[in-house]
């Protein structure tokens, strides 16, 4: 009997003594902090847009990478936040950041609760395909609705949104807006990281790996899914409201299928279920797109498509898997044993 009990301790696959993730996070933050000092103004404006898209990517990674919910219409919540913020500015002259940002969050949250309630709640768990097609249909329908509704500006959307303000200060495009968005991205990232490394994150990991199994432990699987879906919607709505004020206009495309697909690519390319991978994916794809479109005007989409295919084929876990082991990406949720070490934080 004891022979079985005394199986020799073995190193787990991918176990490592040094955690890479904190260094990656700090490195990315340092680069982001110094970037506006090195960039020309028009590139700072571009970088701000990328950070906003990175917030959007984090919202999708939370839903798909951590809970396994394929929200193929995530742009619905991003666009809803954007349109909501634009309408508040246009019709009610509300431009205060203290009202706009909470409004974006609430609009994204409410839309996600409504869509998620319909798609995810029910006696039997919804299939991945059902949720993917359901959310995609929602985004497509919202896009068509916005194009055809005069109140929302039709095809042209809502132009000339005034700058967002804090007291008497107006946030116009430039370094101030960049650092403001960076601060929101950092806060969002830290909040999400805290959540996915909490016991709730462990429940999400169980949900992603074997939904049926955790139901037999007593978890209310549909409730877990709805909560994370709604949270993802709220973050997307926050990103959308920032996007509206940064760009100065909203148009139906920000609700639709193209940007919904784009965010899937960000997360696939960077690495799902890591948060930092979503940000890296957004930065690299947008950066490479920008550079290629400047230098290879005719064929840049083909080059970009080929590059994306190569990464997805040969690095299905995304770019971050070049740096992070599987153990570190999945993480550990328990307290470290006394005198022992853990694979990751």
């Amino acid at each position: 009997m004891m022979q079985i009990a005394r199986t020799a301790p073995a190193k787990s696959a991918g176990a490592q003594r040094w955690a890479v993730l904190p260094f990656l996070e700090i490195g990315a933050l340092v680069v982001a902090l110094v970037l506006p000092l090195l960039l020309q103004d028009y590139l700072t404006v571009f970088a701000t847009r990328v950070l906003i898209l990175a917030i959007f990517a984090v919202s999708f990674d939370l839903v798909w990478g951590y809970a396994g919910i394929m929200s193929f219409g995530q742009a619905l919540f991003f666009g809803a936040g954007g349109y909501g913020a634009a309408l508040l500015a246009r019709d009610l002259d509300v431009v205060s950041m203290l009202l706009i940002l909470p409004a974006g969050i609430i609009i994204g949250l409410v839309f996600a609760l409504f869509v998620g309630g319909f798609l995810l709640l029910g006696r039997h768990p919804a299939s991945v395909i059902f949720v993917a097609l359901g959310t995609l249909t929602g985004a497509y329908a919202a896009d068509r609705l916005a194009r055809g509704w005069y109140y929302l500006g039709g095809q042209n959307g809502i132009p000339s949104i005034p700058p967002m303000s804090l007291g008497s200060y107006d946030f116009t495009e430039g370094p101030a807006f960049y650092y403001f968005v960076l601060a929101i991205l950092v806060v969002t990232y830290i909040g999400c990281r805290f959540l996915v490394r909490s016991q709730f994150g462990l429940a999400l990991a169980g949900l992603r790996e074997n939904e049926q199994r955790i139901a037999f432990f007593g978890y209310k699987v549909q409730h877990l899914k709805l909560i994370i879906f709604a949270l993802g919607g709220a973050i997307a709505g926050l990103g959308g409201s920032l996007y509206a004020f940064h760009e100065g206009f909203v148009w139906p495309n920000i609700l639709g299928v193209v940007i919904s697909t784009q965010v899937v690519l960000y997360v696939l390319f960077g690495g799902s279920g890591t948060l930092i991978g979503a940000i890296i994916g957004a930065v690299v794809i947008e950066g490479v797109s920008f550079w290629l479109s400047d230098n290879y005007r005719e064929i840049w989409p083909i080059i970009l498509g080929g590059l994306l295919l190569l990464v997805i084929l040969f690095r299905p876990s995304g770019l971050v898997s070049l740096l992070l082991s599987e153990r570190e990406r999945v993480g550990s949720f328990g307290r470290p044993p006394k005198g022992g070490h853990r694979g990751s934080s």
């Binding site: 073995a10 909490s198 429940a203 990991a205 049926q212 007593g218 999945v330």
Partner: protein, 244 residues
Amino acid sequence: MALLEATGIVKSFGKLTALNDAGLVVSENEFHGLIGPNGSGKSTLMKCVAGAETPTAGAIRFAGNDITGLSPADRARAGMSLKFQITSVFPALTLYDNILLSLQADTSLFGLMLSRSRGALHDQVMTMLEQFRLVHRAHEAAATLSHGQQQWLEIAMALAARPRLLLLDEPTGGMSLEERRVTGDLLQPIKSHCSLVIVEHDLDFIRDICDRLTVLDQGQVLATGSVADIQANSKVQEVYLRRA
């Protein structure tokens, strides 16, 4: 009063009737074996009890309450725990996290978000891992375990929340003789606080640990009684034991 009482259970899949007026009665702290030839309906009856399948007809009562229409999650919260026939641990998670995942299921969502029970559950996680001889690999991924050790981990996960009734579907499948013997040893201590329903093809294992047996054949109960009664039952010998 019986802890579990399943009566008149019928389960049809289209034209196929897998269970036809089957039943199962399990008392507190009883180890109850569910045996029968392949296709007799053992696993289907187990799934109906656990909530993985909804019976076409019949009633299931647990601790005096009708649970026929309850979801698996609600049954788990009522004190029922299941180990699937096919091992279903969480391979990418550490052993520690596999147990913690099971133990924290009744923590509130807010408590989970704030990791309120993580510290309090630590000792229980380590105790379970120690009990199932896996503590030295606590922080390795479950995928690195042998098949037998994965079975133990899954039994430990099923037992972690201290259920009143544990349902084990072929817990020794794919195990060596020594591992089967150890599994029997690991299960004996739970008798003081838990009842057990076990589906198993290994009759020696069943004889060693069970108090009572129910024999199924073609979706119906052929016999039920103590191990000695079943061994002496001529119908069981005719239909089941000779085939085995």
